[in-house]
Symmetry: D2
Subunit: 335 residues, 4 copies
């Protein structure tokens, strides 16, 4: 039973249908009828104007978004364990032409205004030190923690005061929205409203190959449009990516999928409160777990990653079967 | 009737089946069972060892291949009208970190050893001038011309003499192979055998989102593996790309599709010999054609691009209906 | 007798004095008392506000200036034979992070609005083609031709219309000013007034290691300040560079030196009117000259560069002895 | 009395003489007679073959050296407080095209094999994480600590085992050599012998504008030759830089100057043993010192930098007058 990652889950049937439905030839790149609906569809979801670019990966989404805010001689404040720092193979250095990631601390891989200030306040305002140009936060965080709207607002306020761009890596934005509750649109709108650009992830949530970069500061999209092509990310048959995104928004499928994954995670978490390293606020579970215990779980056919010597990371997906989650719960309870 | 480009054609049904067939979760990125078959499958096709990376676009394929051969302070000799110079939004400058494209002349957008020498021989061997590190040729060329194996061999010999890498942009490599005839594998192997890396295009030939970078100099692949991730082109569900490629190779579907497109182009060309600006050696037709004639064709519902003031470009695709090609032939004949 | 280049001439004695005069310790980088006088001194010369950065080379000056106007995904229109294209070892590709040089034609290596439009008008306004961000002209040109103020104004007008930055490579700006006549400040001011940034060269004019980047669009200097440090061009003992620049401005030494070089060039040109490939409008002479004639000149101890098969380039410097120029004139006359 | 930094000290009179002595025109760039002596002169000093490039700044020296060892997708292990990380305005990101600095801990800003392994061992050997390509150490360190030859040898061994380049930032290499004692050549040779490239600093040691990049792995110099020009650091009158370097080597002036600075530092340190934050192993003194004490020193006309809230950094130079050092000692003793 698969708890390794949500990034290999099957594609949702509605997305297959949507892609097949877009199979007739149309204008290439993003000139097709489907791509043209994205701005409005996401604008409707967030309740405000936005411009939307599809790309195939979260790394491309993050780095293109940041490249619209950060000059080559600037820096990006992010968490020490942020995906852009740890797991993107140096893509920010490439896309930002050598700009610097400035690493901040923070519980649960979340930033706070204080943690950000601890990084940027000591920077001398001279040419010998790289100056920050933007902040990047991750919703939900690398440890599956969700920023509350007021937490984001506080960071956004700091960003504005300091003249910094604000980017949100939302590889699991859907899971955060599902966790935060309220209507999907409200939750999303409130939490994203103050960021300049959001990498809105769909691949981990039942998509095949489409992520959305949502620019709330629409002027930034002008730069990203050119940079996407320059990075080889402007696919000629973009309608198949756009179709995935529209299908995800349609009837809030994205939220339904995320709720499903989150519920499975809560099912597991509910029996393991004393083992949780982080509160489960999305679809990732970090469990204290000895090597022997991990071996026991694997013997029962559960797949997951070790997380250092004494922990395990378990991730649920949109299609994690309820019975797998239940089985995992029982297995953990019986350790 | 659609003769605008092959880059928007529908996806071949066998590829849809292959993608659906790969829908079960597997290892992420290129660790899945399908991706692991690529080296062998392409090795079999070309009759020699090779290493193969999937990417989503031809621009990424070209630039990643070149980035494995060209240092940031070097240059790439290519045709003045090559895709990397004209239509990739500056991607080579990005991927090669500022290396320079060195533009050569050549009929039909094809290079010759003489044309290459005309560019590189005048370069002083000092640090004030950018030194060439590689040559890039396009098979079939921007004007739908196919290099004969001996033409490629002559360029490859020059490249070796000068210590330059040799890259082939094969966005329409299938069409060139189909035109050159012989068995598909032979033709491909003979023409590609001396290049270091080939961008083998499938998207224009019935694919959805998968191109192959085929490294015949397998050491170069080591660099490209890192660079692909760094460029945000390592999709987490890579199995859907690999599945497209395998389905294309299976039963030589790639060649069948290309023959189909080429045949449609020949159908049109056969009636328009006196109008052809370039011999038709793939699936592109460049016709001398007045504005009035173009209007007449469009009035009959044919879609295509103007090519300057007095010409039209018409492109056929794997699924161009025979009756459309016939109808176009008649319409041209009656101009 | 030395007519190879002005770029190896001795340092003017007044500059040695000025550097020695700056020898006492002062604040590092550009915080010293001498550096702080530059904005005002150049502002006084040009009769308008400007911000001035010293750097050690013309290549650094050109590329830092351009990097303040051109984004990595943009391009710079310059002459096909411009120094930035031909002789800077790919520095623009490095400093501009892969931006593209767009090569225009033009007699005497000078651009015209028409030549610039011939390059930029065919560029499709889409993401597939690199868009121009700036124009770079060279005063005096690579062939020693000087732009008249109205020629620059016409280019500046075009630049403004199209939203492009305008950079002037003034490696031999002094020689152009001296040729154009009028008071130095007036001539300079009129010709430089419409450019955004000027690389004002001093090394070829009797300096040791100091060039000035003069920003008339002072906002651009903010970027260049950071980029200079980032490029390793912020010398810690910058006062020795600033001292060179101030000494050059003092009493219009720069103009005196340039006049001296220009006069020597005119001395030579006056006897060789029928051999001149380009009018002599600065301190460079391009002579039609057979190999045998060149050998004859060299036999008389004149050093110079061949310029292709049938020409020679002769360059005079601030300290070319009058008798050398006369001797060369006679030698040419007697060919 | 000046204890702010050694980077603003006057130029040594012998260097003025040497520069004046090189004033006659010679071949441009590094083709002159003086530049051509550098490889042999440094080879003689180090007792082994090397290739030497002059540049104007330590930042350029460090980054050009590293750019010859590190690909854009790689990383450089350095100390968290290394100059390349803290004080070079992001130059490594620029010169290395986005490669990553990987920050290690270590007392006195020195690295150890253990500290390096703590950084590189956890890096997964996959494309998602940046792989190290080189190590950079600083001799003397940012805190004026000198690596002993055996310490360097241990790091060099690790570098070789892991296939990593080894660079030494020797902005104060002379001071380290002077501290380590033995004959200058021996000490330098032993400590530098295992590094691939050394940035050998002279500007802080009585130079004006010349640093040397010394390549012991001479193949690396091939890349750096092109990169120096590409970075705008190939001055046309390079003979004035080469002359400074030769004058420094002549009669071991570099060592004499460094000893002088070190002696002044020891004079001060000798009275302040209980206040020293770091042992004084070069020409920098880090003193525990309250704000009131610092004010008292400044009232006596001593200039220096605060180092955080409770410390001061005092730096001596080649020409720090003995009486200033004595006066400072007394002032500190009387605090």
């Amino acid at each position: 039973m698969q708890f390794l990652s949500d990034n290999t889950a099957s594609v949702h049937p509605k997305l297959w249908d949507a892609m097949r439905g877009a199979d007739a030839p149309d204008a290439p790149y993003d000139g097709d009828a489907v791509s043209k609906q994205l701005d409005a569809a996401f604008g409707n979801l967030f309740g405000r104007e936005c411009r939307v670019l599809w790309v195939a990966t979260g790394t491309a989404a993050n780095c293109l978004a940041l490249s619209s805010m950060v000059q080559p001689h600037g820096g990006v404040v992010c968490h020490r364990e942020a995906h852009i720092e740890m797991d993107e193979g140096g893509a920010p250095g490439f896309y930002l032409h050598g700009a610097k990631l400035m690493l901040a601390e923070g519980e649960g891989a979340k930033l706070t205004p204080g943690a950000i200030r601890a990084v940027i306040d000591p920077i001398r305002d001279d040419v010998h030190q790289v100056q920050p140009h933007a902040i990047s936060i991750t919703q939900a965080s690398e440890y599956g923690r969700s920023y509350r709207p007021e937490e984001i607002a506080a960071i956004a306020t700091l960003a504005k005061e300091r003249g910094l761009g604000l980017h949100m890596d939302g590889a699991r934005f859907a899971n955060a929205c599902a966790f935060l509750g309220g209507s999907a649109a409200e939750a999303a709108s409130r939490s994203a409203g103050e960021v300049d650009a959001l990498s809105f992830g769909f691949v981990k949530n039942g998509g095949m190959s489409a992520e959305a970069i949502v620019f709330f500061d629409t002027a930034l999209a002008d730069v990203a449009y050119y940079r996407r092509k320059r990075a080889g990310h402007l696919q000629s048959k973009g309608r198949y990516l756009a179709a995935q995104l529209l299908a995800m928004l349609d009837g809030d499928l994205w939220l339904e999928n995320a709720r499903s994954a989150n519920n499975a995670a809560q099912e597991v978490a509910s029996v393991a409160a004393d083992r949780l390293i982080h509160p489960v606020e999305a679809n990732e579970i970090f469990l204290r777990c000895t090597p022997a215990e991990r071996a026991a779980l694997r013997a029962k056919n559960f797949d997951f990653y070790d997380w250092g010597a004494d922990a395990a990371r378990l991730v649920t997906a949109w299609n994690t079967p309820q019975e797998h989650a239940v089985a995992l719960s029982k297995a953990i309870a019986s350790l």
